[in-house]
Amino acid sequence: MSILPTTRRTATPTSQRLGHRAGEVIDRSRTVSFTWNGRPLSGHPGDTIASALAAAGERVLSRSYKYHRPRGLLTADYLDPGAFFQVGDEPNVRGAHRLLEAGMAVSSQNTWPSLRFDLKAANGLAGRFLATGFYYKTFIKPEPLWPLYEKVLRTFVHAGAITPDPGAAYYDKRHAHPDVVVAGGGPAGMAAAVAAARAGASVMLVEEDHQLGGHLRWGDGAALARLRALRAQVAAQPGIEVLTDAVVTGRFDDNWIPIVARSLPGITERLVKARAAVLVVAPGLIERPYVFAGNDLPGVMLSTAARRLVNLYAVRPGSRAVVMSANPEGDAAVADLEAAGVEVAAVLDARRQQGVARAHGRGGLRAVETTDGRRIEADLLVTATGWTAPTSLLNQSGDRPVYDQAAARFVPDPDRMPANVLAAGGIVGDGTVDQLVEQADAVGREAARRATGGSAAGTVPGLRPAPHPELFAAGTGGFVDLCEDVSAKDITTAVAEGYDSVELAKRYTTVTMGPTQGKLETVNAVALVAHATGRSIAETGTTTWRPVYAPVTLGALAGRPREPVRYSPMQPWHERHGATPLVAGQWIRPEHYGDPAAEVTAVRTAVGIIDVTPIGKLDLRGPDVAELLNLLYVNKWSKLGVGRVRYGVMCADDGVVLDDGVTGRLGEDHYLMSTTSSGAATVWEWVENWLQTAHPEWQVHVTPVTTAYASINIAGPRSRDLLSRLTDPEDVDLSADAFGYMNVRTGTVAGVADCVLWRIGFTGELSYEIHVPASYGLHAWERLVAEGADLGVRPFGVEAQRILRLEKGHAIVAQDTDGLTQGFSAALDGLIKLDKDDFVGLPELRWQQGRDSHPRLVGLQPLDGTVVPPEASQILRTDGSIAGRVTSSRMSPTLGRAIGLAQIDPELAEVGTRVTVRLPDGRDVAAEVTGLVHVDPEGERQRV
């Protein structure tokens, strides 16, 4: 018998392809070549990988997780735990679902050195000791050996492999807003979709398999006729979008329904995100395996698997079969097998207490032992012992399935389903195809009514589950979970050890935690726990079904990369001039143009220009702006004159520093506020929050204009010279008397009207910050560069600016402060006006000042000026405890020595105090506390 597996001595398998079948889905006119573990094989278009292998006579398709037992086809569909393959660089491919493609390199997973001779199968011998809880009870001592044990354990991982090369793939996403999503394209799903669409609803019909039809596809002539009729109705009905090879992977709040669609041209996978008014769940039923000794042998399969192989793929699943049947579908399998030329050696009718006790064989089925003690030689054992309703999508909608003992399955509880979710077809109950279609038709009409009519929920006809014997396990052992190699004995052992609820037993044994997600295993596991505890199945209950309904690739979930990024109008210039990019939130900014120290020197000695476009800018208009500023800033704003700018700091109501910036008064009721770059969005929302929720009576309009302006800071002793070349003194008089420090003007710069010019000094030099209507930003920048050539103008980046501001002792919010730094710890003593009636943060700042125990922000200079203590270096007390940290530090090109800022406890904060700084390399250096300002403490340079 050539197809009996699978020692190394086995003869080459021979073709098991049958003659033409009425419902076959393969195209015999063409062949598709592929390789199986390096060996060339072929199949037909329409074959799945597994059907092509089965047709080629391959029966052992993989090795199991723990014991490396040989496994073959069990369900012959997406769930089949025996048919997980590596295809090229793709792991865990569902071989009984994935269509065969030319050139596929298919290999079995986790076999060493080969599928047929697997050394790790020796684990099987140790199976008695590898029982449940094994890992928890061993390798405990000696402790130092555990890491070595762990390394060995990891080599046993049963799975495919990925490679570091991403390869080519295209994933995308699409939003959809159908009135009705129908999950499942069997007879009920098709009928529901047609009925809903006829009633005027837009419908998305989603089927996991490659064609619509469900179980009709592998049915008899009458079923096939019905299939053709239903497909024709779907095709003829406008308003239905059909997605095959697609799966509804979950149901989230307010019917937010992700659907993964494959087999679309040019797209690896697409995630359709549907916001549906109504979800109709119509997945049919899943055939449930039977647990008995030897139930995992290749050659043991479900009746639906045998019928799929015979009727869809024209593959003979064996040569001599035993069938255990408890239902009409099992009986139909007998007929199909006989029609396919399989010798049916015995039919065990479970309705008459006949059944399988054990399966025997090594590497494949050889004989079946019946409950009445017979031993029947066979290479195929087909079981039809019951059904599981895949209620996952309903559970995600809030439903809790209830156990129907007479039907031997959990069924949905219609009373717990939300109004926007309905169930149709086999998941609800049983019936003839006519009855299923009739119920689904009514569900479809009701779905449309709820989706488009908006009236209160109407009634939906039910379907009664048919009586079915309770068949879960023969009591002879066997595997309850083939993915995880969990045996029936493992479950009873877990219960005996006290892991006696389904959830605990699941976690202890890992039953249902494998890639089939418990769809095949959960009910059997529940039944085994119930049996072991002496409770009923209804009392035992089922585990929680969590999303996802079917495994989804990370690629499909991610879609195309979409990470927003912002650019200044001068970005093309920066790129052309060799700027090193710095990612700052959404912005890409120049960090420097090659030599930050030289850029600093240019600013101190000549003139530099920096692109500060990302600085947040809010246009504030209205009669109550001053009130708003008084509330949000810790300092006073009522007396700011037109044409003046002022620095301000905002705190939150817990007193923690939130943001800072300057605000200028451009007109009587018109202000321009600046914020930090990173705080732009936060501060805008903060301002709106106070305006809308606390003071809706104030008349203030806030408009974000951050990127309406290109912002350029022109800094250095020659900045006035440079700017004067681009302005007209009749329009903007730059002279010190006319345009003093902390003033603002509007006017024309480089021919661009409506510019805003601030004379401020973050760098400590004479400087102007010009805000140019953004479309002219590049023009203005290029003019500054051209006009300033003889003045030594030099663009500078963020790094030079950091050094310049540090030389001036300007703190950066969120660098020199942190998430708990209150105002008086940010050297704002002179700014905070506790005598104001109110401002955000006032009470906490008053109390902070009263306690007087807070850390202080100070200047710091190492005694050895050549040593720059890196930022985050800790300041230590003599007892080694932490007294503070360096928050900013750099080598100052201007002073030629190291400088810094530090947060430090108050007892060490006095200027002149010597402190110890621990460097990252472990050395300690002495440093002295200084004032904040390291260069030009009097500020003379910026007031010229």
Partner: protein, 427 residues
Amino acid sequence: MSGGNGNGRPEKLRGYSAWSLLRRGLTHEDWPRAWREHELRSSYDAVIIGGGVHGLATAYYLARDHGMRNIAVLEKAYVGGGGSGRNTAILRSNYLTPEGVRFYDRSVKLYEHLAADLNFNVMFSQRGHLTLAHNDASLRTMHWRTEVNKLQDVDSEVIGPDRIAELVPYLDVSDETRYPILGALYHPPGGIVRHDAVVWGYARGADVHGAHIHQQTEVTGIDVSGGRVTGVQTNRGRIATPVVLNATAGWSSLISDMAGVAMPVQTSPLQAAVTEPVRPFLDTVVVSGTLHVYVSQTDRGELVFGASVDPFASYSMRGSLEFTEGIAGHVLELMPALHRMRLLRQWSGLCDMTPDYSPIMGPTPVEGFYVDVGWGTYGFKAGPVSGEAMAACLATGKPPEIISSFGLDRFLSGRLVGEKGAAAVGH
């Protein structure tokens, strides 16, 4: 006092070993129950609400080290069914503040010997923990944490892209990415543990020392009289007790409300997900705060993902699509080759977030009512040390020094703990 110190193994906790496994394998003899079922007594010396790692560890140390054996742990569902069974099982001690570092370092030390201590292999895999920095600010925080860690003798260092690529070859460390990897905080003692095993090990240990574990026992009220606790009401009847510990997560403010004690917490779900297994390729735990993601690969080959808590108050554990979309997008930003891996399952646990990203531990204004709550997203890491500290607190009535910064009173006195600086995604 019975039992012994943290490293001593009590006589009764033997039983699991390769030899006993072999023997029972040959004889087919069943193992004894890991913990027993008991009648609910009408009074206990102390009642611990919450059968997660915190409650069970507290019971274990209370019974073992403080001789309090007439105690009960009440669990409304099954042990480890809350946050203890829903977290991503990452352990580390590379916190920001000295008090945080000291506390979590004690926890890691206890974890290192927990398997031997409990005679239950919790599979602590100290494979190293990488926190990636994608910008200056996070790199600066990594340096800050490193310096504080080193002063507490906790192994941490900031490493550059080349070292990172050696540790995790699948990471894209080029500067072509949207979020370039500038460096990472590397913490070799960090790793992952089998979370359920920790819960079961403590349950078994607490049981051996006499504590009663009552599953399916839900607290419905707390009796307070004259400013002190007198008992708890449950779905199985009233229990008189002078000492109650709220060791719940997700429902901590509701339980405290029963005693009339307000909690500064907001409850939000934390979501996690797991993929199908692939052969091992990721040896370290990888965290990116900027991208709100953390990843590790279990010994079973699955990738376990987590993110930050959902950005609003909720008691829903239904999970969301945007979580898996976000996780997948960010993981592929970091490791583009993973796009073919399939997400298998997602779940949520409830987290009680406090204003300063630090827990609330110790006594409350109601005498005899203690809390060990507000654990945000980092409670599992602290299970052993919290159990040890809360056991001491319950036994003596006073919080031990190691948790003195974490008292409830700090929110009214304005002395918040400084972990907020580093904690956005702190796994």
